[in-house]
Amino acid sequence: MASACKVKAGDLGKIADRVNASFGRYKAMLMVCTGTACVSARSFSIRDRLALKIAEKGIADDYLVVGTGCNGFCAVGPIIVVQPEGVFYQRVTDKDLDEILEQHLVGGKPVERLLYEDPATGKVHTRMDEIEFFGKQQLIALRNKGIIDPENIDHYIARGGYAALGKVLEAGDPEAVIREVIDSGIRGRGGGGFPAGIKWQSGRRAAGERGEVPYVVCNADEGDPGAYMDRSIIETDPHTVLEGMLIGAFALGAREGFIYIRKEYPLALVRLEKAIEQARSYGFLGPDVLGSGFAFDVSIHRGAGAFVCGESTALMASMSGRVGEPRAKYVHNVEYGYRDRPTVLNNVETWATIPVIMDRGASWFASIGTGDVAGDPWAGSSGTKAFSLVGNIANTGLVEVPMGITLREIIFDIGGGIPNGRSFKAVQTGGPSGGCIPASKLDLEIDFDSLSEAGSMMGSGGLIVMDDQTCMVDVARYFIDFLVDESCGKCTPCREGLFALKRILERICRGEGEEGDVQFLEELCGTIGATSLCQLGATAVNPVMSTLRYFREEYEEHIRDHRCRAGVCKELITYRIVADPCTGCLACLKPCPTQAITGEKKKVHVIDEEKCIKCGICREVCTFDAVEVV
């Protein structure tokens, strides 16, 4: 494309005005969530059919259908939000579309049966902002979620996108950008919590001293089970990641950037590729960014999905075509990273936040969150953090909240608490190598440092909520099992140590725990944590250490009493039908895979312990709570 077609900084406002004016001509815009969760519930079909129906009805000039990125409230998808009034439809199917069209768009009356009913209060909410899930959130990285079409660069520009880049390039002072990022106090959202500005400063210094052109890298190798913040950010707003990288590249003097994204994120990958293509055609990427003379471009590197490749040195080894194994970090990537050049790596969420910091200023960002980071980014945790809320929780979904919010607020106010009348037991933060935090710590104000002190970590922001039917020894065993598979095997403590942990935990879960096991676990965790080559190994012990710290009695019960209070560890439990509540309905007989249950209609059923394989199906199907675990 000829450079005459490229957009200059001064043109951004014009594009925004044009797009906003075109939006203003519609009576309403129907924002269909097309994040991965909703897409898996057929939201692409909903988006397309809705647009078709509107066209067929001849009202396409009045109503616009927009496929957006993840709305966040994944538990109730597929979601349609009718803007500007903000009517929130949930669990929408193809069959509901005519009704929305006729009753709401034409008739002006929202479809009540598709509105959200708060399970706690029973109140039906028409508008999205009335729903408590959204109430306590503060959106920075996810500021455009549900509002823009991620596959349309104009939508991003209409929301002020690339203006921060324009401002930075116009000022032309890379050092000032770095100062701003330091002053904002932003710490790496990938889990390490290292102040991003200080990392940039070191990278710029190393590049200057050696006369090398540095690289910037975006880590989109989110590998924690149950965590999908980074994927959602890219699916929702890929341009904010690119704009963040552009600003970083300018500050560092980089000319090339790389996004390392796992191949099993197909939707994010497609949106990212489109975004890069569009940014190039507008001249936001390329030899003359925004007509400033600054040159920068981004390429995508697809990872094959090894958890360890989220570790920055392993990631760079993988990018270089070598086996994805970490190296010692005594010499940091900011000095010798990709291709031995100074390399600044940040994760998706960090890059996505940068444009807002540059736009609204360091002190605004620093005022959000905990601690006073004005003089020292280590002194607190500023800004917001995205979390994915999963597990035994009512409102599964993606949230962005200010640092310093309590676990209680996230889990009970935003997350709607524990479903099925069960009670809260623990929350696992920070992915598989995070720790389990008990109910006694629910009022913990979460930030990088408080989570570490509690024996867990921020990680990339996964929150797995567990109810009282969760066995904490089993949880530790589960995560260690995952990590045994994902350890690269290079260093001895992680390779041999995690395997040993797994064997001991399995033994305890089988009821074969021995006196001294807990001490050995502690001893072993101490060495694995202190001597592992990379952070995967160093933090892998957190699930064991934290459960030992907060739920030690469960270990002891397993070992001494051969008892699993949560009723999870099969070798330690027996299923029994309690005579009183059993109505003799026969419901549990048929699904039992081993025909272990006998009984006649209206007579108390009996489980044959010999035949029972403790699969728990009977307990699930029984509507009278007659099956108990002992």
Partner: protein, 659 residues
């Protein structure tokens, strides 16, 4: 030095080089730390974690692995705190649990105070030669051989050693480095197909070479990185790079032919490209996808093997400081089967003759053959190959051109002085004016002035290892014999001196690189069972060398007059040459010859210098012939042949008249 600093290890102060690994400092300080993955000749693995040390840096204490922790500040180190001992115990226990039968594991476990393990499991392997995943073999394959045939596969406890796809990879050069560095015997050589007499002796010395390539080459000649082209940079720096038919030794534009430029702009094959697959030096380089601008293949993309030093220096000799030219010249010489050295030296000679006005465009067929005329030089090369035009003259070599253009007598002396050939062969690309030893190296070489017999310029001028007249004469005895011996055995001589042992400088007779000479003897001994020492080696070689000289004599060469070098090789022929290095030459007149240069004209000074230098060369000839057991005229004496046991009647017959 600014890069040195002091650190404290267990309370003891040690000096260390900045950025060197902590393990060396710990060892230097006299402390030992256990390790199961470190190997002295390989980059640190950092995987066993046993060499754990506590480093206190600015008040903050942390645990690091000594093998790969670079010392960058004045840190305080503890190698054996209670915490470290506890971690080492657990780590050793892990090893002992998984591989209880392996002797090195048992030994390390004992050192760490461990005799039993709580880590025994279903994956315990009690074989004494189990693989303990130290990674020595993987690194040796990569660093010794640049092959990367071995790698670990499988994550976590499934980690195992393999070749790609679990098959025997045909890229494996069967060098056996992996087996050599394996601490447990997990890799075994099942069949040594060459059946040498003593494979171990050969391997012990071959692996020394591999290790030096891996650890020293990048700090010395960078043969793996740029090949012999590294010499361009050095020769230019030492005023020894031939420029304009050997008039000068350096040029401001020579950087365009430096190895750094060639590497950055031309060499495309960073990987190993060796004469034979097992070579750990792999000094050959190549330029892929080069588009030719001239000749029969004009416009085609080709692969060019090179350029090596002599080709790049030949370009400088013609004054063509142009990488594209150098690569194209290289390609067509190879394609036509023309030696790049002879071609470049002959063209450089023709250029000087043209510039001096001895010949004109009338003789050259219209070619303006000035120094730096790259296009014209290529035209001439194509003509030489086609047997057309001026190429017919130049293609027949300098001796032929000298005779043709010197016939009238007017220019004969000048052409003789600047015609860089001996015995009809063109000089290779070194300026020898200031190195009497290299003048002799060229002049006395049996088949003419190539550096294959005695490449003394580095030891004479760069390393200054043979300062006296006697040293040079001895070198001209020893090195031709030593290098002839290489040739007789079919062994590469580049691994002898392009990388030298780290401690070579402190060895007696360092210029001979005794550590490496021993490698060759041991190799011979391992193959044949015959023990070798310096005298035996020289005797083996001297028989052939004397035979060669007699053959030379049979062909009409091989006497003193045939060993004389053109004066350009020994000193400044022209006023321009003298004056360009006036300080050096004036200084030598005063200090060495003992003549005060003040008030003398350049011509007078040139005459005095020439007489002196030619006299030196004659004296060198006397000494060399004496040392070789030859007559004053440079012919082997019958008694020399007798001493060597080759006084065969047919040989004696050839040299009888010269005695």
């Amino acid at each position: 030095m600014a890069d040195r600093m002091e650190i404290t290890v267990n309370g003891k102060t040690v000096g260390v080089q900045k950025d060197s690994y902590l393990l060396a400092a710990v060892t230097d300080a006299g402390f030992e730390v256990p390790t199961l993955c470190h190997h002295k000749d390989l980059t640190p693995g950092g995987s066993c974690r046993l060499c754990l040390c506590e480093v206190e840096d600015g008040g903050r204490k942390k645990l690091v692995t000594a093998c790969n922790y670079p010392v960058r500040g004045p840190v305080t180190v503890r190698t054996d705190t209670a915490e470290i001992a506890q971690h080492r115990k657990i780590l050793a226990e892990m090893y002992l649990g998984r591989w209880p039968g392996v002797p090195v594991v048992q030994m390390i476990a004992r050192e760490c105070g461990v005799t039993t393990s709580r880590f025994a499991s279903e994956i315990t392997d009690d074989a004494p030669n189990a693989c303990i995943l130290c990674g020595h073999c993987v690194r040796a394959c990569d660093e010794f051989m640049i092959e990367r045939v071995l790698e670990f596969a499988g994550r976590g406890i499934k980690r195992h050693l393999t070749m790609p796809f679990g098959e025997v990879d045909h890229h494996c050069v069967t060098c056996s480095s992996c087996a050599y560095v394996c601490p447990t015997g997990a890799i075994e050589i099942v069949d040594d197909k060459n059946r040498p007499l003593d494979a171990k002796a050969i391997r012990d010395h071959g692996m020394k070479v591999n290790a030096e390539m891996a650890t020293l080459d990048s700090k010395q000649c960078r043969m793996r990185e740029v090949g012999t082209a590294n010499i361009v940079d050095v020769m230019d720096a030492y005023d020894l790079l031939p420029v304009h038919n050997y008039k000068f030794g350096k040029h401001p534009e020579a950087k365009k032919l430096y190895s750094t430029t060639l590497k950055a702009e031309y060499f495309t094959q960073g990987a190993a490209d060796a004469c034979w697959r097992g070579c750990s030096m792999a000094c050959a380089k190549a330029v892929d996808g080069f588009t030719l601008k001239t000749g029969p293949y004009k416009g085609q993309q080709v692969l060019v093997d090179g350029p090596e030093y002599e080709t790049a220096a030949g370009a400088a000799n013609m004054g063509c400081f142009d990488g594209d030219f150098c690569v194209e010249f290289n390609f067509y010489c190879d394609t036509y089967g023309i030696d790049t050295i002879s071609a470049a030296t002959a063209i450089a000679f023709a250029m000087e003759v043209f510039e001096a006005g001895v010949i004109t465009t009338k003789e050259t067929g219209g070619i303006e053959l000035r120094f730096g005329a790259a296009d014209e030089a290529l035209t001439l090369l194509h003509q030489m190959a086609d047997g057309e035009g001026f190429g017919v003259d130049v293609g027949q070599g300098i001796r032929w051109m000298k005779e043709k253009w010197g016939k009238d007598g007017e220019h004969a002396a000048f052409l003789q002085d600047i015609g860089m050939e001996v015995k009809g062969l063109e000089f290779s690309e070194y300026v020898t004016k200031e190195s009497l030893a290299q003048q002799g190296g060229y002049g006395f070489a049996i088949k003419g002035p190539q550096h294959d017999e005695a490449w003394l310029i580095f030891m004479d001028m760069v390393n200054k290892q043979i300062p006296t007249f006697e040293d040079k004469a001895e070198a001209l005895h020893y090195f031709p014999l030593f290098r002839t011996w290489f040739g007789l055995m079919g062994l590469c001589k580049i691994v002898w001196n392009d990388v030298v042992p780290a401690d070579n400088a402190v060895q007696e007779e360092a210029h001979k690189i005794p550590g490496h000479v021993r490698n060759y003897w041991k190799f011979f001994e391992g193959l044949t069972g015959i023990e070798l020492d310096e005298q035996k080696m020289l005797d083996q070689s001297a028989r052939v060398y004397n035979l060669q000289r007699i053959l030379c004599r049979m062909l009409g060469f091989g006497t003193r007059k045939d060993d004389m070098v053109p004066y350009r090789a020994a000193g400044p022929v022209t006023r321009e040459e003298y004056e360009s290095r006036a300080d050096r030459y004036d200084g030598q007149l005063a200090d060495v010859v003992g003549v005060d240069p003040a008030g003398k004209s350049t011509e007078e000074k040139m005459k005095i210098l020439r007489d002196f230098r030619e006299g030196q060369y004659e004296k060198l000839a006397d000494a060399v012939y004496r040392r070789r057991g030859w007559t004053e005229d440079g012919v082997p004496k019958v008694e020399t042949l007798a001493a060597l046991g080759i006084d065969l009647p047919e040989l004696v017959e050839v040299i009888k008249a010269d005695q």
